[in-house]
Point group: C2
Chain length 345, copies 2
């Protein structure tokens, strides 16, 4: 039921929000040097990028984005620039990690290979129809527990692997402001399938996914008015994750969360972000009920069409609530259009 993934099937996509990526790439050298790397430079970033030699990489700058995309309503600045990498890649699998993260160590202090762990998650089935208390049954040394129906053990294809973070956890700005010194030190040696119909707040910090299966469902749609460069000032990934989960539940695909961990340094003053009124925190109160209630028609059978269908529902149902949702719906439409254009070139 599991399969092998070749290195040549994988693109690493890095959003460069800082110019000096030396320590980042040195930290990842043992892992990333085997792969092709797509680096998208934040369009707001002026200084030249510093990337140490020895990596097979291609950099996309603001002018590259413009020449590829042309005129667009989608804003690719900040963390959202990585989505261009998803678009221009021709590979089946994407790994994306924030540029303030390094590979973590496991419980025994041994360095881990997050790319290999993401691929292990993606190359074995997900089991969204029934919960396995022993976590991912496809990990070595694990299996399905007594009572797990045999007819559900083959599971479905896993297309999204959500990794986690040691040190600085991915909190929203109020939580980060209240607990500025809290560090996540608990290495939970587990990965599990997020059950059918359960929604999760996907973080874009440390992700692996099947680009062929999910296509334009990885969409840079929700742009906060006060969006900044700190993760707690963004929501693009949370919205994107809700879209992806709906697509997966609808198309019979799976999502796993858990290992691999990355070591996240993060930083910044969350109180500054709080002054922007925690716009994203408020929006979630409308977003979650919407996505919980979304039901796609059976006639919709591709990720593209799922996104278009959701865009229509977002415009109709959430558009009344806040203008940012209308813009999100527009971006979703636009993204599918771009995806079709670029992939047909």
């Amino acid at each position: 039921m599991s399969f092998e993934i070749e290195d040549s099937e994988i693109d690493i996509v890095i959003a460069a929000l800082r110019s000096d990526l030396t320590s980042f790439f040195e930290g990842w050298r043992a892992i990333f040097s085997r792969f092709h790397i797509i680096i998208i430079k934040d369009p707001d970033l002026q200084a030249d990028l510093h990337i140490p030699p020895g990596f097979d990489h291609k950099i996309y700058t603001k002018s590259d984005i413009q020449s590829i995309i042309g005129s667009t309503k989608i804003n690719f600045s900040g963390h959202s620039c990585r989505y261009l990498g998803y678009l221009v890649s021709s590979k089946k699998y994407i790994i994306s990690v924030d540029d303030d993260c390094l590979p973590a160590q496991d419980i025994n202090g041994n360095p881990i290979d997050p790319v290999a762990q993401h691929m292990a998650n993606l190359s074995t089935p997900a089991t969204p129809f029934f919960f396995n208390t022993l976590y991912d049954p496809f990990r070595p040394g694990a299996d399905f527990v007594r009572g797990y129906p045999f007819s559900l053990r083959s599971g479905v294809e896993c297309v999204l692997s959500c990794g986690l973070w040691l040190n600085v956890a991915d909190y929203d700005s109020p939580t980060q402001a209240v607990k500025p010194h809290e560090r996540n030190t608990r290495y939970v040696d587990a990965v599990l399938t997020v059950p059918m119909r359960a929604m999760l707040p996907m973080s874009g910090i440390n992700l692996g996914f099947n680009r062929h299966a999910l296509g334009p469902a990885l969409v840079p749609a929700l742009r906060l008015r006060g969006e900044g460069k700190h993760r707690w000032e963004t929501m693009e990934d949370i919205w994107c994750g809700m879209c992806v989960k709906v697509v997966c539940d609808h198309l019979g695909l799976g999502v796993k969360t858990g290992i691999p961990y990355v070591w996240r340094s993060g930083g910044g003053n969350a109180w500054e972000s709080l002054k922007r009124e925690s716009e994203g925190v408020k929006l979630m109160e409308d977003i979650v009920p919407f996505f919980h209630a979304v039901k796609l028609p059976r006639t919709v059978t591709t990720a593209e069409d799922c996104v278009l269908q959701m865009a229509r529902m977002v415009r109709e149902q959430l558009g009344k609530v806040d203008e940012v949702f209308v813009q999100a719906a527009d971006a979703m439409d636009e993204w599918v259009r771009l995806w079709k254009v670029i992939s047909s070139r």
Copy 2:
């Protein structure tokens, strides 16, 4: 949002399937000696029980069961005898552990207190409406991740804590037969809420629950024709767990799974059990779709009535498939009747 649970609110319930419980109780002495312990002797067990001194316990034998219950269709032999303890207890919380389990050690080799960990799970909210990728947000050092809606953070009362097992995992007989030497060595330092509408195969090996909230939903209903004394020859707990999860989803209560671990010795020859045709494995193929589809009317607002309602549906829908389901439905009715009688004494 969390609260304190007094030792006096807890009963430990032990099903004695072996007569010599000396090493079991010595292994648990540091923990169990603080609590009242209800020991139910398997009615099939002839020899006297050996229990070391120093424990506040009460033993219920076959004749005690008969004098308490009178004539009944419910079969209390084997693992099912523990349910009598749930019935006769007057405490709010129950902890039940199989008599072949000892407290496990944590990742650092320190002895853990499974009772304290179950109570930590039960005294903090469960969060079934949205998935938290950082696991139980109420554990020290954890919190809700970015994107988790604030309106859902207060969660619901957690009423069931499903613990896990190191060493011998809880596999069904085919898996156990195929992997007789596999040992579960992975200590996953996590506990999480099982999401709304996700069903799980609850194991009765290592459980804590809120007896007042769940009442007769912990029901010894499904009795296999070839039921034996090995866990892989039983399904009572799996069925019970499906009932409990439906009740929790309906009443707005929560279920957690994960820590605490117990060290399980287990043993026996699973090939012998396979000869009994893995009856339970087959039955799950009907049981799971049934419980996935169960919808209880809004007018049903107590655990008692949920069980009665499910019994009716079991009889109508599953009764046609196999006679054991008719017996399960009868046992559910009978159990609610007994629960009312005993609790009114």
